[in-house]
């Protein structure tokens, strides 16, 4: 345990040491520390995960913290492995990416410091099991990531996004503080294990406490309607940070929910239904909004919300399984949720890194200004395509495996004879399919519009992908995607240890089932890959002695100049338009259209902006309501000096009375 804790702090030390070196060395120094810390963290986490035995140690702090238990159980180690590797990859990526900002010396100092602080706080967070220390680390994590988000704080937009993010995180923390202090007050101890008794029974208090925790953690994870900070904060941050935040940091919310679920044991049925329905809504709204976006990183941020929805569906299924006393359903739901958490880390990081390479080369995130990037960035193009396939859940990549497990969990709920569960299962299975097919639409759009076709604007001549430190993390993660996709048992086996921890689920029942399913999948997918290669070589063979003419695209006889041809292409807005008209009520768009005049046409323009309904129907009205309420107290701060002197006087009188009274 000591090894793990010291390994966690190495990131922070690296951030501090990096301050004393010049701009060229900073990134490498930080990277060196990040590499060293892996040797401390990974062996211990892997050990816990493979043996299933938790590693524990306790420290005695001064009051009011008291005794603090650090426990690294299989659940914690899954997350700590993701965090550790994610932070390392972010450090590698920053070596290349931050060259863009080499003139911003002061900002770079704070960048590495807060990157180290963020990684360290997240790593410790997964191991600490004391409410007070947990909240402190939670706040440190939020603040560190806030400073990373506002890296380019000279832009007003970025600063605004950062403050919005910080506010959202404080709301999350407020719910968590309320929940933790309530739980500690009732149980008389700040140790997580002592919360069991309150969460465990289905009394109104236990349910309310679970809801408080869920709102707190769910805000971090990005559940609808508390997700609105993601599409603002992710685009504002530098890409390495976006990848770390989206791939790793929001998972601490999922970790929190799972931790509470672990303490809860058998959840209440209604809560389980609630989590499932909320997750389906999260997934559907997340991806629908993604389809409407033109900003590459904003789009990816909405996809994080979608994937949190999918993970949530897994958790919901697990809770339903436990509530209905069906251990297999519970185990499958949990397994799916955990695996999807890992998978989302892999492909979302690659996508954000890819977006970073695009931004590095073109200085734009507008999808409608891209196009034909495959010619300029061939390696990125392949890696981005693979990540797109994986996030859409298509075989032979890892996204398919986790979605498959969740589908399987839902399908097994059809076998339980209970009308509520059957209807929930139908909602789940069709919801997941709907989410999947919309993600399909969205990623054909992203990949097709930005990497294929013709360039829609002129790119800077400096565009290239020579920076190997930016490609390396992508290559490693892509290899992992393929590996999990083809040989899922490699990762399912260690995850079984985590699932075994949960009282409502037992994978022992499932062992044989899992082998019966995943061995055929591995074999058949390998055959499938073989078949693709076979047909591709057959094609090459057929074309061997023939002429393959490279000619212009068939344009139906329209003789266009190259320039107009590129402008006539479908754009991301036109590609998504037929679908968006179908769901116009859920994703309202403001369209500004200036048509050309009939004679002497001068100007014509088209603009469309999508609105997030949770922003306009939930967040904004709540802010207005809150403002109204707080305005009632605005007289306290009137700006009149006399009034403030009276406050001082009143305070002194109170103090006098109190002291006299005590005496």
């Amino acid at each position: 345990m000591f090894c793990y804790i010291s390994g966690s702090t190495i990131f922070l030390i690296g951030g501090i040491v990096a301050i004393f070196f010049n701009e060229k060395l900073k990134a490498k120094i930080f990277l060196a520390f990040a590499v060293v810390s892996q040797f401390f963290i990974l062996p211990e986490s892997l050990q816990v995960l493979s043996s299933g035995i938790q590693s524990e140690s306790s420290f005695i702090f001064n009051q009011p913290i008291g005794t603090v238990h650090f426990r690294l159980d299989p659940l914690s180690s899954v997350f700590s492995i993701i965090i550790s590797i994610g932070s390392l990859l972010a450090a590698v990526y920053s070596v290349g990416y931050m060259k863009m900002y080499k003139r911003k010396k002061a900002a770079l100092n704070s960048y590495y410091f807060f990157l180290g602080l963020l990684s360290s706080s997240m790593l410790l967070l997964t191991a600490v099991q004391n409410a007070i220390l947990f909240i402190m680390l939670w706040e440190l994590m939020s603040i560190a990531s806030f400073f990373l988000v506002i890296f380019e704080n000279e832009k007003e937009e970025v600063l605004k996004a950062g403050i919005y993010y910080l506010t959202a995180m404080q709301i999350s923390a407020a719910f968590l503080i309320a929940a933790f202090s309530w739980a500690s007050a009732v149980s008389g101890s700040a140790d997580f294990l002592s919360f069991r008794n309150i969460l465990n029974n289905s009394s109104p208090a236990g349910i309310l406490l679970f809801i408080l925790f869920f709102i707190g953690f769910g805000t971090k994870a990005g559940f609808v309607p508390m997700h609105t900070w993601l599409p603002k904060a992710h685009p504002a941050a530098p890409s390495g940070v976006s990848a770390l935040m989206s791939g790793v940091m929001i998972k601490t919310g999922i970790y929190g929910i799972l931790r509470i679920l672990l303490l809860t044991g058998i959840p209440n049925k209604n809560l389980a239904y609630g989590v499932l329905i909320l997750s389906i809504v999260t997934g559907v709204l997340g991806v629908m909004n993604a389809i409407a976006q033109h900003d590459l990183k904003k789009l990816l941020a909405y996809h994080s919300i979608e994937n949190i929805g999918i993970i949530g569906i897994g958790i919901g299924v697990a809770m339903l399984g436990a509530a209905y006393n069906n251990k297999i359903i519970a185990a499958l739901g949990l397994l799916g949720a955990l695996l999807h958490t890992i998978n989302h880390f892999t492909f979302k990081s690659v996508l954000f890194y890819g977006a970073g390479i695009i931004y590095y080369g073109t200085h734009t995130r507008e999808i409608d200004k891209l196009g034909g990037l495959g010619k300029y960035l061939p390696k990125t193009s392949v890696l981005f395509l693979i990540a797109s396939l994986a996030i859409t859940g298509l075989p032979v990549f890892n996204g398919f495996i986790s979605e498959f497990i969740i589908y399987l969990g839902i399908s097994k709920s059809f076998f339980v004879k209970d009308i509520g569960l059957n209807i929930a299962a139908l909602l789940g299975i069709s919801g997941l399919a709907f989410i999947g097919s919309m993600a399909f639409l969205c990623f054909t759009k992203v990949y097709g519009i930005s990497f294929l076709g013709l360039p829609r604007s002129e790119f800077p001549s400096s565009i290239d992908e020579k920076e190997s430190s930016m490609l390396l993390p992508m290559i490693l993660l892509t290899a992992a995607m393929l590996c999990i996709g083809l040989f899922p048992l490699l990762i399912i086996k260690p995850l079984m240890k985590v699932v075994d921890q949960f009282p409502g689920s037992g994978l022992n029942f499932l062992q044989q089932d899992i082998f019966d399913i995943f061995i055929p999948i591995s074999v058949s997918l390998t055959i499938f890959v073989g078949a693709v290669l076979f047909f591709y070589s057959l094609r090459s063979l057929l074309l061997k002695n023939k002429e393959v003419k490279v000619f212009k695209t068939w344009d139906c006889g329209y003789r266009a100049e190259t320039e107009t041809a590129s402008r006539m292409q479908y754009t991301s807005s036109s590609f998504a338009q037929p679908f968006l008209t179908l769901v116009a009520e859920l994703v309202p768009r403001k369209i500004k259209l200036i048509k050309e005049q009939i004679f002497f046409p001068k100007e014509a323009s088209f603009e469309s902006h999508a609105h997030d309904i949770s922003e306009s129907y939930f967040i904004q009205p709540s802010i207005r309501l809150l403002n109204k309420f707080l305005n009632l107290f605005s007289w306290i701060q009137s700006g009149k000096m006399q009034q403030y002197i009276i406050y001082g006087l009143i305070f002194l009188i109170f103090l006098l009375i109190w002291i006299l009274g005590v005496e």
Partner: protein, 305 residues
Amino acid sequence: MLKFFIYILIALSTFLFLGIISRIKALWAGRKGASVLQPYYDFFKLLKKDEVISRTASFVFRISPSINIAAVLFALTIVPLPFLGSLIKFPGDFILFTYTLGLAKFFTVCAALDTGSSFEGMGASREVTFSSIVEPAFFVILGTLALITGELSFQSIFAAINTSTGYTILIKVLFVVSLFIMLLTEGSRVPVDDPNTHLELTMIHEVMILDYSGPDLAFILYSSGLKMVIFSMLIAALLIPPSINLFTALGLFFMIIALIFIGIAAVESLIARSRMSHIPQFIFLMTALSITAFAVILFFLYGGF
């Protein structure tokens, strides 16, 4: 052994079924029409031809036909034959089935965008829009089948549904209609799309493959034909009665598939393609029918009958 033989037979007879469609359409229109074997001649001719590839196209365009043909053949091995079962079978195989076909579609759509043609972009955009509403409905059907039979693989589901009795007749009718709608949508046939020409009338699938030629086009024609056969196999598998012998069942199976293709030809001869804006309503009919089927099942299971 017999199983392998029949799968190969189905894979080989794809173009025959396509030939049936065009022959019947010709007869219906009062023409003599080409031989039912014409698609085979076209196929082999295309295999021998040179290719023209767009200057804009990248590796996606080149690899897409191979992925398509591999994916569709792979999906074929998951769909069961009556009594004989399927080649690949495990609980949840229908998910792999749907997602492998999805992979093929992903590449078709991307290959269309790869050419940078606005017309192909249009087809791609429509394809993804319609498939985004077809897929959930298909999963409603699969979920309902799982609820009725208590099974999670195509083979066991179809084996179980044909032995159960009573209300399943109503359910089967609903499913056959909605799967037929899915077949028309996925196969891009009238009223969703008109496969007759490459331009003017055709708005979805044929548009996306406009730039293909030679062996690549042959691969694509084969895979889109086989995809229709696969969906008609699903419909046929629902309709095989349980208490007959193997060879009658297989004969019946092929007869039903042929009938479905005659049905497609009939639809195509009788009605015109719908307006693009009306197609979602047509697909929502499938959703409505499948949800009705689910509601009926719930009613029978919990309604006290």
